[in-house]
């Protein structure tokens, strides 16, 4: 039998009802794209997880153990999305982290989403919910994701792929499930994520590839004047933005160049 989920290294699909991941959202996750037994952005996933573990003081499993478990659950799948969840583990009732925590790790494979959106581009809306500013958690892919759940619940129209999230001051941060890049006056810009938002591994790959890209505050009006707009996601790669509400964009040369780069990393052709 093919096992698609491992809990602490063993086949299983349950966790303790007293796990702090459930009690408090006390943990971290990664969603890793695995293509033909390879995870092209693996080292960036491990770097972000390590940063989260350091900032939340959650001891992390060995990256080699995680790598072997990711490949095990994705075995035989041409394209999989593997979610790695690491929580602070089971603990007594109360917020105080146990002195010696025994983290729980869950590694689960899912079918990869359809990637046809990469060529035609996607439509976005601007979410009503504003992200709260919490520098202590900004950038991390932690398990406290009610803001994203509420924002994603704002629309049901399947033609809208994702929603732009602004912070309380009206600055663009990210979407519910991706990061945002804009070409403005010839420069590639992506929002600073020092107050809120998730710092995606695909965003990190773009920033490492286009060294001149600017990381800075970006208000919605400026974003809507961009010559080109695209999303980055570990699961969906580079997605040109076709429209934000009524404002229409054409897929541009930077997104197309990044899609070629993605293909060079080993992601499937549909992405380019």
């Amino acid at each position: 039998m093919t096992v698609r989920m491992l809990v602490d290294g063993r086949p299983g699909d349950t966790v303790s009802a007293q796990d702090r991941g459930l009690s408090y959202g006390d943990g971290l996750f990664e969603t890793v794209s695995v293509i033909g037994g390879r995870a092209p952005l693996w080292s960036r996933h491990m770097a972000r997880l390590a940063e989260g573990g350091r900032r939340l003081a959650i001891p992390l499993p060995d990256a080699e153990v995680l790598a072997s478990e990711v490949l095990a659950v994705a075995a035989g799948m041409a394209a999989a999305v593997v979610r790695i969840t690491v929580t602070r583990g089971v603990g007594p009732r109360g917020y105080a982290p146990p002195v010696a925590s025994m983290p729980t790790r869950i590694v689960a494979a899912f079918p990869a989403p359809d990637l046809h959106l990469a060529s035609e581009g996607v439509r976005l809306r601007v979410c009503d919910l504003r992200l709260a500013e919490q520098p202590a958690l900004a950038g991390l892919k932690h398990l406290n994701r009610l803001e994203q759940v509420l924002a994603r619940a704002e629309w049901a129209d399947p033609s809208i792929h994702d929603g732009l999230l602004l912070d309380v001051a009206g600055r663009v941060t990210c979407t519910t499930m991706a990061n945002v890049f804009a070409v403005i006056d010839g420069a590639l810009v992506t929002p600073l994520l020092a107050r809120c938002g998730v710092a995606g591994v695909a965003r990190a790959e773009v920033l490492a590839t286009i060294r001149t890209a600017q990381v800075r505050d970006l208000v919605l009006d400026e974003l809507l004047r961009a010559d080109e707009l695209f999303l980055t996601s570990s699961v969906r790669g580079i997605l040109p933005v076709q429209a934000v509400g009524d404002k229409v964009f054409a897929p541009g040369p930077v997104a197309r160049a990044m899609q070629r780069h993605w293909r060079g990393l080993g992601f499937p052709l549909e992405l380019a």
Copy 2:
């Protein structure tokens, strides 16, 4: 065998590793004090849970079902703390809530904490972490509690009972596990919780009892000039504050009156 935990009404201690409570902190909880088979603040717990279910669009179990499960897990315990957790249940990967969600409910009994603190009062610190402002979640006892985990991890000194939490603007909000009341110029004041913080059921009981109490913004300097300071908690009742950092307070008449009220509700003598 005495069952101390029910998951969806059945004895058990695990949940699906794909429960949205774990994946996203997508759920709510209550910690209910049960004394000799009675939960004195039950209707307030159910009111808050209903409010959370409404705001997060999570269908809730029937309150009578929850009541019978709470009494079942606390059976034979003179004083118990029963945690009720309700999540949006198992769902496919992704933030979008399932159209028809099947919530998960966990009802678990724990021994009540030692209540000797009620007479002598407790020492507090001021936490470094500032609470983020998120009106969409303010007041709710939801499962996204990383801020409380990080704040509680700031100290290990067992003589410090709890930490005051300020918001980003420096306003006092609550502590990591209780609400705060202050007597200032003869008036009882408790912070407004429109931007962040948990609106405790014990706080609601105090507000319903002392109708002249003010609910308003309160900065730390003003709080520290109070004549009297106390905490309210469903689990620990009314706790006079003895000190905040170096600033010393004496247990005052309002806290003592509220402790007598608590005893009248059916809570044990040690609380008064």
